[in-house]
């Protein structure tokens, strides 16, 4: 087969994640494409958790509602997950909990005395690895890669590598001798290219590094913490630094301070942190200081559903601060885009001297995906308009206009250390030279200038693929893009003229492009993971109201499955 979905489930704290990671990493090395989706809750131990890994010979960008192989560490897992299994699907279950199939379940139960075998090996922790061995056999994968992997992962501790290798073999051999009839789910061979396997947060962190960011100040929060955690040991290798702050307010204002000081700086957070940062974001907007905020959206409002998918911070990112404060909001949709857009954000922040929000969502942030490459050469650092040191010297003191009213709205900025570039950066309304100034005309000039800047944004606001004049146009952003693309492919195969409009810059809103696309389409569906139809409402606000546009909302904490979207399409297409 070209595409298999495998899942492991059990109690939180039972090593589900690391087991899945082993399978994913080995398959990635064999040249498969991986899409790994972790289902977890915001507690440390206890509660059902599972990890689904899709392994394919082609790129996969969304999870799905079907499943071929389920590894169950408890009966709960079977009861909760069996419905996803395709007819003939397999359940690898530990005999220890006396697994049984629910009524009507058409899967095959493959009992394996995992706990017992682990005990025999003298190490209960290898239980899950035995299941990996079984899975390797069923997937038709050679054991070698797995053995190398566990040696790498556990080999540092004496004897641990070996016992894991033994566990793999035990599982594999057990399957070989008992489950050889189950041949359906053997994978077609991978192409042997070891691509990159990473989560969106790691990609964003790498993007920040590649984009020249060297200062990060942040406070831990799900699902953003990995960005900080990746950069803490990494930045110092490149002359940078990460400070874990006392809260999000310190984080954003410190990042702004660093931006003022001449660094490329950022913070990363999620909903609750974003709310706390609103005042700071407004400061950056007003004082025209570059700063990048990564917002990994999760279920809101308030503490909400910290480990669940949502895309409900669109309004808050654009309109959340008091007053009229221009910002740029980017919404990457894949792991790759998390890399490129984060890098881009630093250019935009410095070129337009304003806060730039990079909004991922939980699915992008945490899902493990195979990426062909992250191409450093595509990233060119553009530090925007900085005052020329020589010219400043020539000017002499008290002449430089930090907030000069220019046609583009952008005024060259000076950086501390530049002689005669001294100025006052302030969140209060100020004159061209940066003095506190409440004069009405000055106010209007400065306000207009700040908004005018955004008109210069030269980044394509949308990505369009599919038919030119589609019968159905699907509009989405963020991780939804994977499911939409899948649906567009399927519809196209079915002979329906379908297309996908993906909003990549959420603000300034790409009204023109969206208008054109909507007006060319017969029917439009806007799919988004929130309750208020935030994207559709932006379309209504900035583009217009259309009778042929419909909303598809999912806000139950899970990402869209292609089947959700397909269902809506069928309904719309009649």
């Amino acid at each position: 087969m070209d595409l298999i979905s495998w899942k492991i489930g059990g109690e939180q704290g039972e090593g589900i994640d690391s087991t899945g990671d082993i399978l994913a990493t080995v398959c990635n090395r064999l040249g498969y494409y991986i899409y790994g989706y972790k289902h977890f809750s915001s507690r440390i131990r206890g509660g059902h958790t599972n990890y689904k890994i899709r392994i394919s010979t082609k790129k996969v960008l969304s999870t799905s509602g079907d499943l071929q192989i389920l590894v169950a560490l408890d009966q709960d897992t079977i009861d909760l997950e069996y419905k996803e299994l395709v007819p003939g699907g397999l359940i690898i279950a530990d005999t220890k909990f006396k697994p049984h199939l629910p009524e009507g379940c058409e899967a095959a139960l493959l009992p394996v005395p995992m706990t017992e075998m682990a005990k025999e090996l003298g190490n209960l922790q290898v239980r899950n690895v035995i299941a990996v061995g079984v899975s390797a056999y069923l997937l038709g994968l050679p054991l070698q890669g797995f053995e190398d992997m566990v040696m790498e992962k556990f080999g540092k501790k004496k004897g641990m590598g070996e016992v894991n290798v033994q566990a793999l073999r035990l599982g594999y051999e057990h399957a070989e001798s008992l489950f050889s009839v189950y041949k359906d789910f053997r994978l077609a061979p991978g192409d042997g290219k070891a691509r990159l396997l990473l989560i969106g947060n790691e990609a964003a962190a790498l993007g920040a590094l590649a984009g020249g960011c060297r200062v990060m100040t942040a406070y831990p929060i799900t699902p953003a913490s990995e960005i900080m955690q990746y950069l803490i040991p990494t930045f110092p290798q490149f002359g940078g630094i990460v400070v874990q702050c006392e809260d999000e307010i310190a984080s954003i204002t410190a990042a702004i301070g660093a931006g003022f000081g001449g660094a490329r700086a950022m913070t990363a957070t999620s909903g609750p942190g974003l709310s706390l940062m609103q005042e700071g974001i407004g400061l950056a907007s007003m004082a025209e200081i570059p700063v990048v905020i990564i917002n990994t959206q999760r279920g809101g409002p308030s503490t909400g559903m910290p480990t669940k998918q949502e895309q409900s911070d669109v309004f808050a990112m654009i309109f959340g601060g008091h007053g009229d404060s221009p910002r740029i909001v980017l919404t990457p949709s894949t792991t790759e885009e998390a890399f490129y857009d984060t890098a881009l954000a630093f250019n935009l922040a410095e070129r337009f001297q304003c806060p730039v929000l990079v909004a991922t969502d939980l699915a992008i942030s945490l899902n493990l995906t195979t990426v062909d490459n992250l191409d450093l050469s595509r990233i060119k650092i553009d530090r925007g308009q900085v005052a020329n040191t020589e010219e400043l010297l020539k000017m002499g003191r008290d002449v430089f206009k930090r907030y000069a009213v220019t046609e583009s709205g952008v005024s060259p900025r000076s950086l501390p250390g530049q002689k005669y570039g001294q100025y006052l950066a302030t969140g209060i309304e100020h004159s061209e030279t940066g003095k506190v100034q409440e004069n009405p005309d000055n106010r209007v000039n400065q306000m207009n200038k700040r908004f005018r800047k955004l008109q210069g944004l030269d980044v394509p606001g949308v990505r369009y693929n599919g038919a030119e004049n589609p019968d159905i146009l699907l509009v989405g952003f963020g991780s939804t893009t994977g499911a939409i693309d899948k649906v567009v492919d399927e519809l196209t195969e079915d002979g329906v003229k379908a297309a996908h409009l993906h909003v990549r810059v959420m603000w300034p809103f790409p009204s023109k492009e969206i208008k054109a696309a909507i007006e060319k389409a017969k029917r439009v569906v806007v799919a988004e993971n929130n309750a208020q139809a935030q994207l559709l409402r932006l379309i209504k606000m900035e583009v217009g109201h259309y009778d042929h546009v419909e909303s598809l909302l999912k806000y139950n904490g899970n990402p869209f499955l292609p089947s959700d979207i397909m269902g809506k399409c069928r309904e719309v297409l009649g």
Partner: protein
Amino acid sequence: MATTLAEFKTAEKSWWCPGCGDFGVLAAMQRALVEMDLNPEMVTIVAGIGCSGRIGNYINSYNFHTVHGRTLPTAMGVKLANRDLTVLAAGGDGDGLAIGMSHFMHMMRRNIDITYVLMDNHIYGLTKGQVSPASDPGFVTKSTPAGNIEHPVRPLELALAAGAGFVAQGFSSNLQQLAELIKQAVQHRGFSFVNAISPCVTFNKVNTYDFYKEGLTNVDEDPNYDATDRSRAFAKVVETESMITGLIYREERPSYEDLAAGFMKAPPVANQDLNLSPEKFERLLAKFR
């Protein structure tokens, strides 16, 4: 050629009431900067929101007038970006001890090499006279018409308890001492805290110049005072109810920058070439294969 006072002044007209203590703090800060012979462009002053927060308007350095209460994290960011800069933070007692309290406590333990001058008038000046966390019990203000009923924050006690490595208190009227303390504070490696008593002549009729002139004693002039003993410093501050000026405590220890892996080895972030070498980048990527 030495820096002159004029170089640190701006043409900005004063926003303060005549007689405001902040004039003295400003003068002391300028004098300290001049005496250290710093170049204005190598100094950044981050100020809070409040009357006191206007201090940056009058100093010809790089200035950042941040949002209310966020003086210290903003200053930290500037220093992280360019550690060659002399970074001072300055703000009021409301700014630093009410809304900014958490940052104050955390900056002290983090020990980044910046100097914090808290311009303490025991009142909210800019918002026209409400009680501040530093206000004394019984103090009558617009927001405590029946007298303040909260226990006051004693910034010196807190600084000692929170682990600050440099703690001093000056008085706006004693320009020379205050300037000297600010100078020492800047020269101290790590976070340094100078509480600058700065009477508000408009809204605080209790903690006046006379009040302080009568009440303050100067530990700098006490040959028996040992500013390196934290417990004794704490006892002194408690016993005098903070009515002292001078260098109260000083401890030499590495700053955050010294301890942060690799930080002092690289050039200041703001001066770095931000382009990545493809080889190094590939080495990072290799870990994801």
